[in-house]
């Protein structure tokens, strides 16, 4: 008797072990092994096809060339930084000498105006996209909430939203550039004109997904929840804060994620076309340079652009999971 129960127990323990191992295995396969295989196949295909594409700038860069280019780009950045430091040291020495000769001399400090490196461009782009996105969010979310609450406002604004939503940034850009040049005149501008132009273009294009999703989220709140609010006679602001906002957070975030990816795509195009500093300009400059490294450097930029876009989306997702009560809505 006891023997049989013991074997049964052992069996079930073994089975449990096997089940756990299987679970772990399938998890590892799904999250690690399969993606690695996918990437490996992609890299292999890339290096094979790259060899057979011949452009006027030479062979299309394969993965190894691009990887090398990454370290070149980084070295250039370090070198540029050292030059900047050296420049300031020289300037300080010069100023000190001048002061020695003439104690009344007013010290002038000039900023270093070296060429922007790849790393600098990345940061410029990130700052621009974030600012443009935030400006858009500050307009779009309140507007979307208002449109969701008022069917009349929604009918009034919906045609405008629908018409402007599909407009490409390339169409906005000339207009925005001209308007910014006309209106943003200041002798000592806090930020550059090109920054404002990119920012506005990004905002204009990333506004709409947020407006639409927010207003849909708000207008589709379960009518029972709205009745709860009516029975309690919640004042409008409390109603928005306690009922409308939490209920539509999942949709608002869906809109924000859509908008952020639109913003990132738009920014690269805007920078390229308008010669605004940033990754887009980097790509354009390399294209114009037409050196033998250009294609590899552009390919490196493409990978970085994609990777940053992915990271931005992940950050938004993490934010959503933090803020949203509905964890299931915050998935990939």
């Amino acid at each position: 008797m006891s023997l049989t129960t013991a074997t049964i127990n052992r069996l079930t323990v073994n089975e449990k072990m096997i089940k756990i191992l299987k679970d772990v295995f399938s998890k590892v396969t799904n999250t690690l092994i399969l993606p690695i295989i996918g990437i490996a196949i992609f890299v292999a295909l890339w290096s094979i096809t790259a060899k057979s594409i011949h452009t006027s700038l030479g062979e299309f860069p394969g993965p190894n060339v691009v990887v090398k280019q990454f370290s070149v780009l980084y070295d250039e950045h370090i070198a540029e930084r050292q030059k900047a430091v050296a420049f300031y040291v020289r300037q300080d020495i010069r100023n000190a000498k001048k002061l020695e000769k003439n104690p009344d001399y007013v010290v002038k400090i000039r900023a270093y105006t070296g060429k922007e490196t790849f790393v600098d461009q990345i940061f410029t782009s990130l700052i621009t996209v974030t600012s443009g996105f935030l400006v858009a969010a500050f307009i779009a979310i309140p507007l979307g909430i208002w449109m969701g609450l008022s069917a009349k406002l929604n009918s009034a604004l919906n045609p405008i939203v629908q018409i402007f939503k599909p407009v490409s940034p390339l169409a906005w850009l000339p207009l925005v550039t001209m308007i910014v040049s006309a209106l943003y005149v200041s002798d000592d501008p806090l930020v550059s004109k090109s920054f404002i132009t990119s920012l506005i273009t990004v905002s204009l294009c990333s506004l709409w997904p947020m407006v639409i999703n927010t207003s849909i989220g708000v207008s589709s709140i379960n009518s029972d929840l709205l009745n709860v609010s009516k029975v309690l006679r919640l004042p409008t602001l409390t109603h928005i804060r306690k009922i409308v906002l939490p209920a539509s957070i999942p949709m608002i975030f869906t809109g924000m994620r859509l908008s952020f990816s639109v913003a990132w795509m738009v920014l690269i195009a805007a920078e390229m076309l308008a010669q605004n500093p940033g990754l887009g300009k980097f790509v354009w400059d390399e294209f114009q340079n037409g050196s033998s490294d250009s294609l590899a450097r552009i390919m490196a930029a493409v990978l970085v652009i994609g990777f940053i876009g992915f990271l931005l989306d992940r950050i938004m997702l993490m934010l959503q999971q933090k803020v949203s009560w509905d964890k299931s809505s915050a998935s990939v």
């Binding site: 379960n222 029972d224 929840l225 009745n227 709860v228 009516k230 029975v231 309690l232 006679r233 919640l234 409390t238 306690k242 009922i243 939490p246 209920a247 009560w325 509905d326």
Partner: protein, 290 residues
């Protein structure tokens, strides 16, 4: 003689006075209710029963102030009702708890709003906990709706309504979505609470036993369109009521069969007679299509 009826507030606490309700629909106006007239005493427990789609929820929503009657009106303590308010608390059919708040916070939202000026923070906390205790939900008050069962959600919904200290408690099929055992348990809880608080209640139900067990009067509605009150049945069974003892009680069985007769003989539906829950849903679809 009329003087006594109009001045006695007990008699005419809540007056649903000759209401008609017409909904505008794409194919013209649809008259759901016609001349619905009920006088309700303070502390009375009224059940509204009738076939699906006859207009029970519409009556309740008019009393709640969520809908406006096209003709006639509702008077609560001689004041006309024309918007929703916490003195007419509603327990919605599907609990309607805010899913992002815990049970405690759901009740708190109501208490904060209704007693914003009259209660201190500590008093509010005590009052919220008291109401959750009343429905036996104090053990799970910091859980969110998705972490508790259907019956528990419904109980929190009732606690939220009770916490508003309403003059009238309106319940739209509060136990409709529950299984028979939970439902019986909830009915017992409700009777217990009712014994303590003696609220004025209008409850919609599909369940004949529930209506007889809980009510002082059963209002039976005819089928729509132009639904109205068919019969009103006084339930004079002594309190406290016990479902097991009542099963043998001849008066209980008389009342029960009176309601059944009304529903299945006098107001027999042309469509499938709803006998089970699933049939009922099918039929709801059928009526809404028709």
């Amino acid at each position: 003689m009329t003087i006594t009826t109009t001045t006695n507030p007990e008699e005419h606490f809540l007056k649903i006075s000759h209401i008609d309700m017409a909904f505008p629909t794409p194919s013209g106006s649809f008259t759901a209710l016609k001349d619905v007239d009920i006088q309700i005493k303070k502390g009375e427990f009224i059940s509204l029963i009738g076939h699906s789609g006859c207009g029970k929820s519409t009556v309740l929503n008019i009393v709640a102030g969520i809908y406006q009657a096209t003709n006639g009106g509702v008077l609560l303590k001689n004041k006309e009702v024309n918007e929703p308010g916490p003195e007419r608390a509603v327990v919605f059919q599907n609990h309607s708890l805010l899913p992002w708040l815990t049970s405690y916070q759901n009740v708190e939202l109501a208490v904060d709003q209704v007693f914003s000026k009259t209660m201190s923070k500590a008093e509010k906390k005590e009052w919220i906990e008291h109401n959750l205790k009343l429905v036996h939900m104090d053990h799970a008050m910091h859980k969110r709706p998705d972490e508790i069962s259907g019956g528990m959600k419904q109980r929190v919904g009732i606690a939220r309504a009770l916490a508003m200290q309403p003059e009238v408690l309106l319940m739209d099929e509060p136990f409709g979505a529950l299984d028979a055992l939970t439902r019986a348990h909830m009915q017992d809880s409700l009777m217990e609470i009712q014994k303590e608080l003696n609220n004025t209640v209008i409850m919609i139900t599909h369940d004949v036993d529930e209506a007889v067990l809980l009510s002082d009067r059963i209002v039976m509605m005819t089928n729509g369109p132009e639904a109205t009150i068919g019969e009103i049945l006084d339930v004079n069974l002594p309190h406290p009521r016990n479902r097991l003892a009542l099963a043998e009680d001849p008066e209980y069985n008389r009342l029960r069969s009176a309601v059944l007769k009304f529903l299945y003989e006098k107001q027999r539906k042309v469509e499938v007679i709803p006998t089970t829950k699933t049939n009922k849903e099918d039929e709801q679809k059928a009526t809404s299509v028709a």
